[in-house]
């Protein structure tokens, strides 16, 4: 066995010689800390989630599927704040500068500003864990109720759009302790939510992947879907 290992070591040496790769590097300046902080926040967010895939998938499928069906059907859902979701882009704008309060744990807040813009405050990733669908739906409704544009698109699992739907707005850090990020929308901008229907597992295990949501704030109007 020893001689065989020596022979194998010869393989490694020779392959190292044939395929010499660049020397190892560390993360670019500052990014190691940035990634570490991001991971710490993400792990905390994921901490309450179960690690066994099937139980979680089934739960998500049920919760998200129901909400997605509501969005897809354009069902009017009464929201705790008194506004309504639907296809109307919002006739009544919320007045004042008070942040709206939600019956569910506050993961976001919508605030109308005196200069006619709308600020959306978000908690770090918290809204993307449990009950994502509910938050997407509620936030869409709030934005619409404030008189701003929110677009919800439902896609068949096989259909994808090319990524360029417009200039994606970057979040600003608030640094106030209450909220982590904020977006400031004008009436020209769009809040875009993409909902993809559940995908059946190709391996035929009977499971499906949960409904997939993605949201973005687009500077200006959203470009039409360019299917690929």
């Amino acid at each position: 066995m020893v001689s065989r290992d020596r022979e194998q070591d010869g393989d490694v040496r020779e392959l190292r010689r044939l395929l010499a790769v660049p020397a190892e590097r560390d993360f670019p300046e500052g990014r190691r800390v940035q990634r570490e902080e991001h991971l710490m926040r993400s792990w905390r967010t994921m901490a309450g989630q179960r690690t066994d895939g099937r139980g979680r998938r089934v739960g998500q499928r049920l919760a998200m599927g129901l909400a997605a069906a509501a969005i897809a059907a354009g069902v009017t859902v009464a929201m705790p704040g008194g506004s309504e979701s639907g296809t109307d882009s919002g006739k009544k704008a919320e007045k004042g500068t008070e942040k709206t309060t939600e019956a569910v744990p506050a993961s976001y807040a919508v605030q109308k500003n005196s200069n006619g813009t709308l600020t959306i405050y978000l908690k770090e990733v918290s809204m993307w864990s449990e009950g994502d669908a509910k938050h997407f739906e509620a936030m869409t409704a709030k934005i619409r109720a404030a008189g701003f544009t929110a677009v919800v698109e439902n896609f068949h699992p096989d259909k994808t759009c090319r990524q360029n739907r417009g200039e994606v707005m970057k979040p600003e850090k608030t640094g106030d302790g209450d909220w982590d990020y904020r977006y400031v929308m004008t009436h020209a901008d769009t809040y875009l939510v993409t909902v993809r229907a559940p995908v059946a597992d190709r391996k035929g295990s009977g499971t499906t992947q949960p409904t997939f949501y993605q949201d973005r704030f687009i500077k200006g109007p959203v470009k039409p879907c360019d299917p690929s």
Binding site: Q8, L19, V21, P22, P28, H38, S42
Partner: protein
């Protein structure tokens, strides 16, 4: 008494995960770079690997040595199923602050671009191998895992690691020899060949001008 490190990882202790990242983040980063050929993609892969690590923490064996083979095994899968994994963690990844906020130093940037050119050439040769052979090679030859650790990372027998490495070596040597022969061929044809003669200058335009 403090539970062993593996037990804390299995229990989802955040600080232990932080230590795991601090200890092995660089190795995972370089492994991802060698597999993807792009430093910035490798950075995102590292995040995905450690998110996946958290998700799969209960699969860690309670006893054993370094968790690096386990991490590199996950990294290998993440790179291969990058889109699917990214979709799973997209919401978390989108909350990642834009990397452009931090300065890039010119020398550093040039060095990284040279790395990418170098690895592109290597990957071209590597494309001649099957994916299983490439994975063994990346772990054993580049990441420096021994056979047992490579086997653990990929969930295959040690003997399979050996045979894949041997096969990769034979294949690459054969290809190198073939390329060498091809490079030598034109030099062997010293005398004029039929049909190999072309005009050395352009035809005159008829106005007494030179060919240029």
């Amino acid at each position: 008494m403090e539970p062993p490190f593996r037990a804390r990882i299995r229990a989802g202790d955040e600080n232990s995960f932080r230590v795991l990242f601090q200890e092995h983040g660089r190795a995972v980063y370089n492994h991802c770079f060698r597999l993807t050929g792009d430093w910035s993609v490798a950075e995102d892969c590292v995040s995905l690997v450690f998110l996946e690590t958290w998700r799969m923490r209960e699969k860690v064996e309670p006893h054993g040595g370094s968790l690096l083979p386990w991490l590199l095994g996950i990294a290998t899968n993440v790179v291969h199923h990058r889109r699917r994994t990214a979709r799973r963690h997209r919401a978390l990844m989108e909350r990642m602050p834009p990397p452009g906020l931090l300065p890039d130093f010119a020398d550093e940037v040039v060095g990284r671009l040279e790395d990418q050119e170098r690895i592109a050439a290597v990957r071209k040769a590597l494309d001649q191998l099957s994916r299983p052979d490439r994975e063994v090679l990346a772990l054993c030859v580049w990441a420096g895992l021994d056979y047992a650790a490579t086997a653990e990372a990929l969930g295959i027998p040690v003997g399979t690691v050996r045979s894949r490495l041997s096969r990769a070596r034979r294949r690459l040597e054969k290809l190198a020899l073939k390329n060498l022969e091809q490079d030598l061929e034109p030099a062997a044809a010293e005398r004029q060949q039929t049909g190999d003669r072309h005009e050395a200058v352009r035809p005159s335009s008829g106005k007494g001008e030179g060919p240029w």
